[in-house]
C-alpha cells in the first residue's frame, strides 16, 4: 500500500539577501548580493511518521521549518502540507500544523504558563468549551500541572521546552513541526521529551518533522531522516539504509556508531564541495 504524503518540499531553494556594508552604501553601490541557504531541497513525509532533519548549525533546518509554516517565502520550488500549497493556501496550512519553536523567548514571560496557553488557544481558535480541558490534559501529559500558575519567567529550560510542545499541540494539529525541541536540555530531559513525542505521535496517528543537531535525538526516534549540510541534503532514508550505504561506500564492516557515520558523511560532503569549488 502506498503511504500518504502529508508534508513535502520539492526543489526548494532559498536565497537570503546579504546586508549592504556601510562602504557600499556610502559609495552608492546598492545592488545586493544573495546567499544561497537552501539548495534544491526535496523531502516528503508520510502520515504517521516522525521525519528527522539533522545537520550542524547553519545547515538550513530552521529555514525549512519556516518555509513549511509560511514564515519565510521560498525563492524557488514548492512546499505542501496536507496537499495545500503553503504559499497559496497558507490559512489552510496553518489550520493543520503545530509549530514547536525551541526559542524560549516566544512566550510572554510575565504571564503564567496557563495564561500563555489560554492566550494562544484563543488565537488558534481552540473552541472555548474544550479549551480548559485541553490545557489541563496537556499540562498533565507534560508534567507541568504543578507549575501552571507560576510566571513563565520562573520556569527551568526543560519546563519552557515542554510549554513550547504543549502550545504546538493545543489545536490538535495533523502535522507537528518541531524545531530543535531538545535544544539546550540535559540528556535526561531530552530523553523524556523524545519519549513523549514518540508516544504522542504513535497513539494519535499524527505526523512530525523533527530537526536537531544531535544524533542521539533521531537515531531511535525517526523512521526516516535527512542529513543536511550548508543548505543541501547529503543523504536521506532510514537510519538502517544510511548505515548500510555508508558501509558499502567506505568498505568499513566493523560496528560504527551513527554519530561517527554522520560526522564522516559531513566531512566527505565538505571535501566534495571544496573540489566542486576548485573545479569552477
Amino acid at each position: 500500500m502506498r503511504s500518504e504524503i502529508v508534508a513535502e518540499c520539492s526543489n526548494v531553494k532559498k536565497y537570503y539577501p546579504v546586508p549592504l556594508s556601510m562602504r557600499s552604501i556610502l559609495s552608492l553601490r546598492l545592488s545586493r548580493k544573495r546567499k544561497l541557504v537552501l539548495d534544491d531541497i526535496s523531502i516528503s513525509v508520510n502520515r504517521g511518521e516522525i521525519f528527522g532533519i539533522i545537520g550542524p548549525n547553519g545547515a538550513g533546518k530552521t529555514t525549512i521549518m519556516k518555509i513549511m509554516c509560511h514564515l519565510t517565502a521560498p525563492s524557488a520550488g514548492k512546499a505542501l502540507v496536507c496537499g495545500h500549497d503553503v504559499e497559496k493556501e497558507w490559512p489552510k496550512v496553518l489550520n493543520r500544523i503545530g509549530y514547536c519553536i525551541s526559542e524560549e523567548r516566544s512566550f510572554f514571560w510575565r504571564l503564567s504558563g496557563r495564561q500563555n496557553l489560554e492566550f494562544f488557544s484563543a488565537l488558534m481558535e481552540v473552541p472555548a468549551r474544550t479549551m480548559h480541558r485541553k490545557i489541563e490534559e496537556l499540562l498533565e501529559l507534560l508534567d507541568l500541572r504543578g507549575a501552571a500558575d507560576d510566571r513563565f519567567m520562573n520556569y527551568s529550560s526543560g519546563m519552557k521546552q515542554k510549554m513550547a510542545i504543549a502550545r504546538s499541540l493545543l489545536a490538535d494539529p495533523e502535522v507537528l513541526l518541531m524545531d530543535e525541541p531538545t535544544k539546550g536540555l540535559d540528556p535526561g530531559a531530552a530523553f523524556k521529551i523524545r519519549t513523549f513525542i514518540e508516544d504522542y505521535i504513535a497513539s494519535r496517528d499524527k505526523t512530525a518533522i523533527f530537526t536537531t543537531n544531535r544524533v542521539g535525538d533521531i537515531e531511535n526516534l525517526c523512521r526516516r531522516i535527512a542529513i543536511l549540510n550548508k543548505g543541501r541534503i547529503v543523504t536521506q532514508g532510514s537510519v538502517a539504509d544510511i548505515r548500510s550505504s555508508f558501509r558499502e561506500s567506505t568498505g568499513i564492516m566493523k560496528e560504527v556508531s551513527f554519530e561517527e557515520i554522520f560526522n564522516r558523511m559531513l566531512e566527505s560532503n565538505e571535501e566534495a564541495r571544496r573540489e566542486e569549488g576548485a573545479g569552477r
Binding site: 532559498k14 537570503y16 539577501p17 541557504v37 529555514t63 519556516k66 509554516c69 509560511h70 514564515l71 519565510t72 517565502a73 525563492s75 490559512p91 496553518l94 489550520n95 500544523i97 509549530y99 519553536i101 526559542e103 524560549e104 523567548r105 516566544s106 512566550f107 510572554f108 514571560w109 510575565r110 504571564l111 495564561q115 489560554e118 492566550f119 494562544f120 488557544s121 484563543a122 488565537l123 488558534m124 481558535e125 481552540v126 473552541p127 472555548a128 502550545r167 489545536a171
Partner: protein, 274 residues
C-alpha cells in the same frame, strides 16, 4: 469555533494579555497616574502667566488657556498611541521573540495588531477621562455645554487617522526593524504646528497653511470646539470633511504599505529578526 465566538474571544484574549502584562509592572502603572497630576499643576500655573498674553487668540476657545492646553495635551495622547502602537507592538514582538509564535496561529497578524492598539487606545482614554475630570473638579477648567456626540465622532475619525499613520510606521519597522522616520516627522510637526500648546493664530500665516495637512490640526480644533463651545456635528463640518478626506487617502495607503512590507520581510527571511 463560530464566527461570533472568534469575534469575541480573540480581542478579549489579546486585551486580557495586555492588561495582565501592564498590571504586572505595578510601579509603572501607578507612576503614569501620578504623571497626570504633575502635568495638571504645570499647565495650571503656566496658564496664569499665559492667559493675559494671548487672550485674543483664545477667544474662539472660550478665552481660557488652561482648558485649551488640557484638551490639547490630553487628546494629543491619541496621536502618540496611534503612531506608536503598531510599530511598538511589532518591535516588542521581534525583540521578545513572540512574533513567530503569534504568526503561526490561525489569527491574522493585522487582527492582533489592531486589538493590541484597541487596548492602548482604551488605556489612553482612561488617561484622557481622568485628566479632564481632575482638571474640571480640582482646577479651573471650563467645559460649558459640551457636545459629547460631536466630540466622539471627531475622536473616532482622529483614531483612524492616527492609526493609519501608525500602520505606515509599523511597515518601516517590519522591514528596517528600527528608526521609523514616520513617527519622528509626524510627531514633531504635529506638536509644532498642530495647535497642541497654542492656538494656530499665533503662528505665521505660512505655518498655519502648512498645519492644515496634519490631521491633528483638525482633530484638536474639532474636539475643542465640541467640548468647550458645544459645537454640534453640523457646525464641525469642515473638520469632519478634512478628517474623512485624510482617512480616505491614508488608510488604504497604510494597508498597502503594510502588506508590501510584510511580503518583503517574508521574502528576505527577516520577519522575526530584530
Amino acid at each position: 469555533m463560530s464566527r461570533i465566538s472568534v469575534f469575541i474571544r480573540k480581542p478579549s484574549a489579546i486585551i486580557k494579555k495586555e492588561f495582565l502584562t501592564a498590571i504586572s509592572y505595578r510601579f509603572d502603572f501607578v507612576f503614569k497616574l501620578m504623571g497626570i497630576w504633575l502635568s495638571l499643576f504645570v499647565f495650571y500655573f503656566l496658564s496664569k502667566l499665559i492667559n493675559p498674553a494671548i487672550s485674543q487668540d483664545l477667544e474662539p476657545y472660550g478665552g481660557n488657556y488652561f482648558s485649551f492646553v488640557i484638551i490639547g495635551t490630553a487628546f494629543s495622547g491619541y496621536l502618540n498611541v496611534g503612531l506608536d502602537s503598531f510599530s511598538r507592538s511589532i518591535r516588542e514582538a521581534q525583540l521578545m521573540g513572540t512574533l513567530e509564535a503569534v504568526l503561526v496561529t490561525r489569527t491574522r497578524f493585522t487582527t492582533i495588531l489592531i486589538f493590541q492598539a484597541v487596548w492602548n487606545f482604551l488605556f489612553a482614554s482612561i488617561h484622557v477621562v481622568l485628566y479632564l475630570a481632575f482638571s474640571f473638579i480640582f482646577f479651573e477648567s471650563q467645559l460649558t455645554n459640551p457636545d459629547f456626540f460631536a466630540a466622539l465622532v471627531i475622536l473616532v475619525l482622529t483614531i483612524i487617522a492616527f492609526s493609519s499613520l501608525g500602520i505606515i510606521s509599523g511597515s518601516f519597522i517590519l522591514v528596517f526593524k528600527k528608526g521609523s522616520p514616520v513617527n519622528w516627522v509626524i510627531s514633531s510637526f504635529s506638536r509644532f504646528l498642530g495647535g497642541v500648546y497654542y492656538p494656530l493664530s499665533v503662528l505665521p500665516l505660512w505655518c498655519q497653511k502648512l498645519a492644515l495637512i496634519l490631521p491633528i490640526t483638525h482633530a484638536l480644533e474639532g474636539i475643542r470646539l465640541a467640548l468647550i463651545r458645544g459645537h454640534s456635528i453640523a457646525e464641525l463640518k469642515a473638520q469632519v470633511i478634512a478628517l474623512l478626506l485624510f482617512n480616505a487617502v491614508v488608510f488604504p495607503l497604510s494597508i498597502l504599505c503594510f502588506n508590501l512590507a510584510f511580503q518583503k520581510a517574508r521574502r528576505d527571511g527577516t520577519l522575526c529578526n530584530y
